[in-house]
């Protein structure tokens, strides 16, 4: 269960999002610069809203009324971005182990081995990120986020930099892992096909406002207004 109410003044517009979803994969869909990434940053605790309330699985991350504002370290979110943000000075295995500092060395090794196997990365354990392809790097980023057993997985355009066969495979990986781990996912994308494919809920965002929240099929069939209709238009041509 995710409850996200965020108000924040940005440079060009004000972010004013209010959404509650039961879990599963929720796609935040809209053009670049609509405030989707900022919403994720607020959930991760990397940016502070001016007002609102963020609750994940019953844990209050932020509440402007009671003054609660957990540090990112206390939130246990898994965060994956378009450019992976792997630590360039660490190996693949060390990257994956980075969030496991509180585990014993042996536990850490077991968990990392398991995660690498899950995402077909065993052969690359000792490589540096620079030696990997984009798709491989993104799987490492996914593994690094997942081994910490996050309360929520935040994916910010995670597959945008990849070619379409790689993207298709990673989407399958994501759905498989989400099914096994049952972790709620917030997935930011400006790619309509991706939004329709992955989303169990779809939140359409424009200029910092939530225009519609529904299943992808319903959003397509019954867009809330003309702007949503335009964003999920029949031709489905690329938005950017």
């Amino acid at each position: 269960m995710l409850e996200i109410r965020v108000q924040k003044r940005l440079r060009d517009f004000s972010l004013d999002i209010d959404l509650a979803v039961p879990g599963g994969v929720t796609v935040l869909f809209g053009r670049s610069g609509a405030g989707k990434s900022m919403t994720l940053a607020c959930v991760a605790g990397l940016a502070a809203p001016e007002a609102g309330r963020i609750v994940v699985n019953g844990a209050v991350f932020y509440d402007s009324r009671t003054g609660v504002n957990l540090r990112p370290q206390q939130r246990r979110v898994g965060y994956v971005t378009q450019d992976y943000l792997l630590f360039p000075h660490l190996t693949v295995a060390q990257n994956v182990a980075f969030g496991l500092a509180k585990h014993t060395r042996r536990e850490r090794e077991t968990i990392v081995q398991e995660a690498l196997a899950w995402l077909r990365l065993e052969q690359l354990a000792r490589q540096r990120p620079q030696a990997l392809s984009g798709g491989q790097q993104q799987r490492v980023a996914l593994a690094r986020a997942l081994v910490t057993r996050p309360q929520v997985l935040l994916l910010d355009e995670p597959f945008s930099a990849l070619d379409s066969p790689t993207r298709a495979r990673l989407r399958q990986d994501l759905l498989r892992l989400q099914g096994e781990l049952d972790v709620p996912v917030l997935f930011v994308t400006h790619d309509l096909a991706e939004a329709l494919l992955l989303g169990e809920q779809m939140a359409v965002v424009a200029d910092g406002r939530l225009l519609q929240l529904d299943t992808p099929a319903r959003v397509r069939e019954r867009p809330a207004d003309s702007l949503v209709a335009e964003l999920v238009g029949r031709n489905g041509a690329g938005l950017s």
């Binding site: 991760a44 605790g45 990397l46 540090r71 990112p72 370290q73 939130r75 246990r76 979110v77 898994g78 965060y79 971005t81 943000l85 630590f87 360039p88 000075h89 980075f98 969030g99 500092a101 509180k102 690094r144 986020a145 910490t148």
Partner: protein
């Protein structure tokens, strides 16, 4: 031609090494603060840090004498502790450290600013403490800059003349560093020896500069 005395060179190397360690210890945390934290007086602190770069070394030496000399509270305390600075090799260390301080801070600050903040943010979401992030992300990624800054600091400390002369004086065998020795040799019209020592110091400085350059290039790649 009398033979060249190498004691000033060893003293210079020892003084420069200690000065570099001192400067690194104080300068790296300061550089990190300037690069990563917003606080009141930050620009003033930045200006003060860079001041030794633009002040005449004699002015620097004068301030050090006022601050650390026998008449000052700090100087008297140091005397009581048995570590007088004025006219001792320790004074040479302090003078060299203060004169070379800006080089380390400027280089290290640029190094820290070159580390992608989003990597540090990522480490935060992975639950790591701010201290762990500094040691395991920021420091290793800024490391080449810090080494380059240390090499520059060492070279500058090695070359200091004015501030060292003001604070430590020119006592052969005790506070006479290589730079001051060269001046002495010239005064005594021992041109060949002065040239020899100058060559040695030039070679060392060039080597340090090349090390610093290659480290900086590694960052840019």
């Amino acid at each position: 031609m009398s033979s060249l005395d190498f004691a000033p060179l060893w003293l210079s190397l020892r003084v420069s090494l200690l000065a570099t360690l001192l400067v690194a210890g104080a300068g790296i945390p300061l550089a990190w603060l300037l690069a990563r934290r917003r606080f009141w007086g930050r620009e003033l602190l930045n200006g003060l840090t860079s001041l030794p770069l633009v002040l005449p070394p004699t002015v620097l030496g004068y301030y050090l004498l006022v601050l650390l000399g026998q008449q000052s509270p700090i100087g008297q305390w140091l005397n009581r502790m048995g570590w007088p600075l004025v006219f001792t090799w320790r004074g040479a260390v302090v003078a060299a450290a203060v004169a070379s301080f800006p080089l380390l801070v400027l280089t290290a600050r640029a190094g820290f600013e070159g580390v992608d903040r989003r990597l540090e943010d990522m480490a935060r979401t992975l639950g790591r403490s701010e201290l762990a992030i500094f040691w395991r992300v920021t420091l290793p990624l800024a490391w080449p800059s810090l080494l380059a800054g240390a090499a520059l600091t060492f070279a500058r400390a090695l070359g200091d003349f004015g501030a060292t002369l003001m604070v430590a004086g020119n006592i052969p065998g005790r506070t006479q560093t290589a730079s001051i020795y060269i001046y002495d040799l010239l005064q005594a019209n021992r041109r060949a020896e002065a040239g020899g020592m100058a060559l040695v110091v030039t070679g060392l400085a060039l080597l340090l500069f090349l090390i610093s350059q290659s480290l900086t290039r590694r960052i840019l790649r």
